[in-house]
Amino acid sequence: MEAHQWMIHYTRQTEWIDRRGIFLWIAFYAGGLGGGLYLVSLYFNSLWGMLISWLIIAVIKGGTHLVYLGKPLRFWRIITRPQTSWLARGFIFVMLFVFFGAIQMALTYWLPGSTAEIVFKVMAGIMAFSVALYTGIILKNIKGVPFWNSTLLPVLFIFCGLLGGFGLAVVIALNGGDINLAAAETGSRWLLLANVLLIGIYLWQASAKENTSKQSVLEQLRGHSAPIFWIGIVLLGIVIPLGIALAGLIMNHMSSIVLVTGVACEIIGGLALRYVVLKAGAYKPLVAKPQ
């Protein structure tokens, strides 16, 4: 590539995926996964699930996002300015979730069924939903990257988080946790189908919108990101879990190893989805090249 050639071609964003951007990718996925698992755990009233989701958000999501910042010690500047942007609100959602979630788990353990427990469950649930949602809104608000600039993206991220949440719920159930295995499997199947549908609609909508977002879709389907798309998202994230789900429906019983493999594939698929979405986000050429 010659110097400045990038200004007259479609160029993908690099800051949020290349080099240290990897931390942001993990943070974005962990936010969705942790938020999704907490909501699923609320549905099953699973303390184990709540604890794991709390750890995912507090340690992995919060930690990697902080590591990504150029000046992490200044993070307090972000949390004191919720009016500025969704990034600031997102940091606040994470901190409030960590706070409400810790109190809620303590109440669930020592004072189950109390009014306070219900109140904190609701508050922590709202924050978990917000943590899973806000990363999609951050990307959606970027007008310069048409592939991201879609209302479907936050919805897709939420559903992807819930799918991961149900997957981890299956693993908790298999390990004797406080979750109904059959219900978790059923939820996982439905969410897998919903995710397949959403990914399809999202890509179709992006390719039909305009040339730059079509470029982003092509980048995934046959560009540098294609191996991650086809192997990570399609094969590991969709085909294998779907095959296991169908086999489970037909045979009425699946071994634990197969189920855990399916969940692992789902999580890799979710990671691949976030990676590809970030990697394929492209800008219009700064200057349109004439014929």
Binding site: H4, G70, I142, G144, Q291
Partner: protein, 241 residues
């Protein structure tokens, strides 16, 4: 008052003096440039090279200001968008949000010195004292706001008096850059935009840039652009991989 710039594309001779002047003015580390020169071939069988001198557009509705979570990026009353590096947390949301890709995150590898591991020049030593660049924060062109402010304090007029005018404008030997007040209908920039049909880059983003271009074949021409061709099959991106 809203400071703006007009770039006359027909006059630019691609000498890179604007980049050099900016580097000297702001003691820029080797790995970054605030202004950039975009050179591209036009004209098919008998190609000629067109050049765009681009820099932060100091947008009126700047996406970078909207997304900054710490308030480090602000738009001054005179329209100049500035970054307070003491407040910047290095989240790079502004870098990603800028549709013109005119912001740079200053990472360690972009500030290794002019002669890494060998010698620190006097110029670099002076820069460390006079114009600190903080690794881990975001940077961009600020229309030489410090020159504008100092000049105005002395009663000088930016765009007319050299001392109050951005360094790149002063140094351009072809006089391709003009600086002035966009709100003043009698200013040189307003006249040029009016008379020579000045245009902004990507007006569809509704950011209202303060940098205009004139006399270019691209953007003002009636001939179709590559992007306008409906039947063109886009290639996969991967540029610069």
């Amino acid at each position: 008052m809203r400071w703006g710039m007009v770039v006359d594309l027909s006059k630019c001779v691609r000498c890179y003096a604007c980049l050099a002047a900016c580097r000297i003015e702001h003691f820029l580390p080797m790995g970054i440039n605030w202004p950039r020169l975009v050179a591209l071939e036009t004209g098919g069988d008998s190609p000629t090279v067109s050049t765009y001198s681009v820099r932060c557009n100091q947008c009126k509705d700047a996406p970078c200001v909207e997304v900054c979570p710490t308030g480090a990026t602000t738009r001054r009353e005179d329209g100049v968008v500035t970054v307070d590096q003491d407040k910047c947390v290095g989240c790079r949301y502004c870098v990603v949000a800028c549709p013109y890709q005119n912001r740079t995150f200053l990472s360690k590898d972009k500030d290794q010195g002019f002669f890494p591991g060998r010698v620190v020049t006097d110029f670099e030593k002076a820069g460390k004292k006079l114009y600190k660049h903080q690794i881990g924060t975001t940077e961009k062109c600020n229309f030489c706001a410090e020159r504008i402010d100092a000049g105005l304090a002395k009663g000088l007029k930016p765009g007319i008096d050299r001392e109050a005018t951005p360094a790149c404008v002063n140094t351009c030997p072809a006089r391709a850059l003009t600086f002035g007040d966009l709100d003043d209908p009698n200013s040189e920039v307003s006249r040029l935009i009016r008379e020579k049909k000045g245009f902004q880059l990507h007006p569809e983003y509704n950011t209202d840039p303060s940098v205009y271009f004139i006399d270019g074949k691209i953007g003002q021409s009636d001939e179709p652009k590559v992007d306008d061709k409906a039947d063109k099959e886009p290639e996969a991106i991967g540029v610069g991989e």
